[in-house]
Structure formats: C-alpha cells, structure tokens
Amino acid sequence: MLGLKQIGGRLAQLIFVLWAVATILFLIFRLMPGNPLAAYIDPTFTEEQQLILMAKFGLDRPLWEQYFIYLWNLLQGELGDSFFYRQPVFDRVLELLPNTLILTFSSLIVAYAFGIIAGAWLAWRRGGLAERVAIPIVLTTRALPEFWLGMLLLAIFSFSLGWFPAGGTRSPGEEYSSLFALYSSTDFLAHLVLPAATLAIYSQGLPLLLMRSNMLDVMGEDFVTMARIKGLSSWTVVVRHAARNALLPVVTSFAIAVGYQIQGNVVVETVFSWPGLGRELVNAVSASDYPLAQGAFLMIAIVVVLMNLLADLLYSLLDPRISHA
C-alpha cells in the first residue's frame, strides 16, 4: 500500500504537471498569428469600441501581466468568459462534460469486457484456426481511422438499414426533465449505440492483445501447471487461476485509457454530432475562442492526470507485491 508520504508526493507531481499544462496553453494561444479578437470583434466596430473590448478582456496589458491574472483566476476556479458565447467557460465545459464521459465510459466498458474475454479465449486456443483468423482482424480494427469507421457504421446502420439515428443524443424536440431522465431513456440509448460502437471497435484491440499476451505468460507458470495436474477442469484453470492473475495490468490500463479516450472523442463526436467536450474544443480552436479552448484543454488534462493517478493507486491496491516505497 501507498503511504501518506507517497500520496503527497504524487499530488505534488500532479499539481506541477497541471501548472505546466496551463502555462503551455496560455503561451500557445497567445503566440498564434492574427488578432485574438478577430473572431469576436465585428470589423464594423469603431476603433474606440475595439479598444474598449481589448481593455475589457485585458488584452491591452503586457503578456506577463496577463499570465499572472490568468494563473490567479485559475486558482480560484475562474476560467473566464468565452469570446464566442459571452458566457462563463466553466458552465459551458461542465454542461458538455457528462455527454463526453458517458460516451467514453460506455464504449470503454464494452471494449474492455469484450477484449478481456476474447483475449483470454484466444490465449487458450493458441495456435488454432481461431487465432489465425482473429488476430489479423483485431490488428485491422486497431488500424482503422475512427472517422472512416464512424461514417461506415452511419452508412450501413443508419442510412441503409435505418436502425439507429444519425446524430445527437435525443430525437428532435424530445424533452427530458433531467440529465438522468435523458440518460436512462431508450431514445438516448439508440443515439448512443453507433458512436459508442465506433469507439469500442477502435479501442478493444488494446485490452484484447494485452490480455492474450498476459494469459500466455501466466499459463506457462508453475501454479497453472499445478492446477492442471490437480485435474481441475479447463474452465476452472482458465478463469479461476490464469485469468485472475493476467487481469491486473489490463484493469490499470483501463484507467489510463479513459484519460486518452477523452481526446479520441473529438473525431467521433464530430461524425455523430455528439454534443460533447471534444467537438466544443474543435469549435473553440477554429473560432480562436482562447478562454474556451484553454478551459476545455485544461479539463481534459485534469481527467488524464487524475486517471493516471488512479491507475497508480489501483496498481498497488490490486497487487500488493508492487510497492512504491
């Protein structure tokens, strides 16, 4: 187990990483060519109006001063107002985050459940026909671009067969009293299927291959041979002895994958018009909406860093042999 001291150390590292991310974000957007207010100010504005706006957003101050104001605001959880929407960035990001999280988790849970079972099974059937057919398929799905896969699923299951709607999280004009009412409706599920399937197909390769190779390692070990000698059934040997031990690295890779998947959603959210954080990020960058882009990037960075921390903690929890001391 981790001691308090180790956890403290990890937290300090985490804060350092977030500070570095925040600083890089600040610099990237200020060093981009062009007037930061080009997207905000209508060129018909008079010069005085433009100067007032520059002053309002603090863009007339020196860069270092802007930087300290920015850090101070971040410490207070203040992400500023979006240029594009003229509304607080924090509210906007928080409104879209649940949609992204539900898409991410549902697709990853499917991908990992499938990957773990299929990986274990393939390890068990090593050298057989199943392996020769399955492994190339898995490698192919891993190499498919997500947008292409998404368009393909849309063309087949939405436009040709008409089984699933093509975009959004709800049918036109459907009203839900709460987020929970929306997420628990069949309407929402029907909208979730295609984007989640796209992400799941793309993500299942990693847990599958990881599980398979872990299983192969584990099955060569003495305790598995011992279990077989004891005359236990194949099922018991695979599930109770081998799989349990092979699972540990896969579970921790899940936590890391959640973090990375959030960024992967950018493409899928655009293909399926999913109102999530990824699509907002693309809009914010193309509209030069610095406060919003910074806020969205920062939120994603926080999720990634937290998930990494969680992976570390899980590791030591699940496998007491691993110590951070």
Partner: protein, 549 residues
Amino acid sequence: MTRILKTIAAAALATLVAAPALAEGDKIREISILTRPQAAQPSEFQFVNIIAQEWRKLGLDVKIQVMPWEQMADLVWYNRDKWDVTGWQMVGRPERSDPDELIYNLYHSSTAPKGYNFLGYNNPDYDKVVEAQRVETDANKRQTLLKQAQAMLAEDQPALMLVHPKSTFAFDKTVWNASTVVDQGGIGIKNTWTFIEMEPLGDKKDIVLNSADNIQGINPLWISGGTDSWITELIWDRLLRIGPDGLPKPWAAESFEWVDATTIKLKLRDGMKWHDGKPVTAEDVKFSFEAPAGEEAPMYKPFVGNIASIEADGNSVTFKLKKPAAAFTTGSLSKINIIPKHIWEPILTDLGVKDDNAESHQEKMPIGSGPYKFTSWTTNEEVVLAANDGHWARPKADRWILRIVSNTEAALGMLRSGEVNFLSDFSGDPKILLNAAKEDGDLEVVSTIDMGFRYVAFNNRRPPFDSAGFRRALSAAINRDLIVGAAFKGFAVKSNSVISPALPFWHNAEVVDMKTGADLAKSILKESGFELVGGKLHYPDGVKESLAE
C-alpha cells in the same frame, strides 16, 4: 558559348539603342495575393490560383499567400497599407436588400481609414453620387443614381468582382407542400416567410432543420452568428419585414407613411401580445429603438444613429430623423427587434453599472412577440420553438426544431432518412445534393442567386494598383465564366457589380457583360503606359518601384 554571349551583347545593345529618351519604368515587384486555406474556403483557393495563373501570362510575378481567416482579417483590416491583393466576400443579409449598405460603405472615401472601404478606393465624383442616392426618397431618381454609381465602379474596377454564389437548400416534398415554400430573392428558401407559410401535407408538422454551426446566443440585442439570426427573426417581431421581393413590408406596424423627408409615422397592429401574455405597446416600440442608442448593444447602435427623436402616441409611433435616409425602412425599421420594456428595462439599468453589456445577457426564457415562441435550447444539440397560437401570422407548422449537425454528409443522410426534413445548411458539393435528390425522389432542391458576392480586392493605396488602367487590365484578364464553372461548379452567376441581380430594380445589368481575355488585358496595359520588357511587366516610363522588399 561565345556565340551565345555575342547574341546577348547584341540584344542588349539593341535595347539600349531602342530605349526612349525618358528612363524606362522599373520592373513591377512580385505582387502577392492572399487566400484562405483550401480546406476552409475551397472556392476562394481555387479562384485565386486561376487568377494568379492568368496574371502571370501578363508578365507579372505573382505569389499566392495562404493564411487562416484570423490572420488575413488582421492584415487586410488592421494593416491597410501592407497588402496587395486579397480574396474576399460579402454575405447576403435581408437588410442588404437595400443597396445603400454595400454601394456606400464599401467604396465611399469616408470609410477608407477604418470602415468597410478597406481597399482604399477614393473617387470624389463617386462619393457625390452615392451621397445623393442616400437622401433621395424618389425611387426612380435613386435608381438612376445607383446605376450611375455601378457604372463608375465598372470603369474604375477598385476590385475584381467575380460571382454572386447561389444559395442551395432542400426539403422533403412529401412532408411539406412545395408550392408554399417561399423563395426570397437574394436569400433563398431558408427564410422567415417559408418558416411561417410552409404547409404540412400530413401528420408531420414539425419543421426539422439543420445547421453546422453552434448557436452563440438567442438575444435580441446582439447580432451573433448567422444561424442565431434565423432564431431571433422568428421570436421577435419587427415593425417591418423585408418581403420575398426584397422590399420592406408592414409587419408589426400595419401601415407606415413618410410625413416629410425626415419624418415617418407608423400605426401598430391591434392586439399584439408578448409571449408572457402582456400587451405590446407603442412604449415598447419606442424603448426598443432607444435601447440600442446607449452603450449596451454596440452592434445595433449604428442602425439607430440617425434617429433624432421618437414619439409614441396611442398605437402610433413617429420617428424624426436627423437627415433624410432612403434606406431607413430597410436598414432600421426592418432590422431592430421589438423587445418588451418590462423585461429589458431593469436588465439594462442593471447592466449600466457593470462592465458587461447586453450581449452577454442570455435570458433563460427569451420573450418576444413573434410568430414562434421559445421552448428549449440544448447546448450544441438543438433549439426548439413552438408556433405562437396568438400571433396574427400563426405558422402553418407546429414546431421549429433546429438540429446542430456537425457532419455535412450526415446532414444529407438525415434529410434522406427523414431525421431532418429541411436542409438549411449544406456546405458540400451542390451536385452531390442534386444527385441525391434525383435518386431519392422525395426531395426538392432550390438554388437562388445570392445577394452576397465573392471578389478579389486590389489595394488601391499601393502602386501599381493605384492605376485604374492597371486594375482594369488585371480584371479584364479573368474570364468569369471559367471561374463560375471551375471554382463554383456552376452554382454562381458572374458579377461585375456589388448590387446583385437578385435586386433587379437596383441592379445595373449593362455592366455585367464585360469583355475579357489576355490580349485585351495586354492592350489596356499598353494604353496605360505599362510595358513588357524581356517578358516582365514594367511600370510606365519614369515610374520607380517604391515598395520592393
């Protein structure tokens, strides 16, 4: 080798001997032409490349500079003496149905330092003509002046006009009665009239339409994104509305009358109600036009700048103007949203003491008096409006549902599968849309010539573009039919005037058919004194290149 050297020497000698008494003009520097990236603006990128190629045939060195919009706007708009040529566009908006905004603002010398005349055209004769049309309230006399102004622009070519694009939209004709869809001149079938008049054929009574852009705000005091204006036009009434013919029609005002050149009197319609049930009064109208005059709605401020005073009396409203303005009915009375005083007065008073203005005030439940009422807005997903049963022009549809669809191909698929029934935003190739409609059989596609236009602006401040002859030649070198076909795939009409043929009363059709061709361009250059030396274009005699790097 020696033979070659001898030939060169002989040629050089011949040039020297033939040289005129006056020093020959310098070689024109490499000129650069700006365009946005192909991914963002495929048509612009394409026509800029064609134009550069044609200009090179005249002996010019042309460099194409590709940059994103933010950078281009910054250079062209804020650094007015630092660029040569740029691709540019003006978009069609209902209030541009009056030619004043384009013909005056784009080329009057007063807007050259900081306003719309970014290319720096300065012609005192032109200034006089466009000033005269501005105060001319007799339509026929004004028409003559406007045609004259267009002819002057055609002669001077301050910019190289290319095309008026066509706006292309589609709808499901098994859901909507095609004969009730209104095609508004210069705007297309996606307009307020269609959303009010369009009649359902069967049980499906919801207009479900799409936009690729997120909604920025639903706010009667903020001119935000283009898609947002579709919504504000439906929730809030205006005194007049631009009709399908491009002329202002009575709306919330049932009639209007010019008392004299600077006084207009309007009579309000009886029985109008806000969506919260309170009556719409003349005081509300007065408030709506006074509110933008302060500092809280900067984007609407220019539209009320000419109002000297407003008088509300019973159900009539009288506007006194500072000076006569022919475009007042179109540019102001059809533009300003009528807002409820009981809601906005406290908000504006509160904002008056803060840094923020009305643009950042998003009402939870926007209240107007328009034909549709606000129902809901889900971030980046949809906006739902419901028909206002109490409105004198109650829409034939029940609901108006705008879906945000970020994927263009999916939008077309949704139209075919019925997830949307009105394609109000399609950025793909219009031919693909036409083919899909042919295959499908249920869809009707309508293309309308736009009020807006695409062009290439010359920086009139910088030599050699300060020479009208040079600009005329460069313009004559470009075959517009080729541009229509190659860069717009036929979905545009060629142009030589800022007033679109979509506004037939004001448009000067005589200027459109200009002669073009490389030979013509070369002869104009020669007449203007420009010379070809060793295949490269030089300034007229005695003129130095002052801007070479």
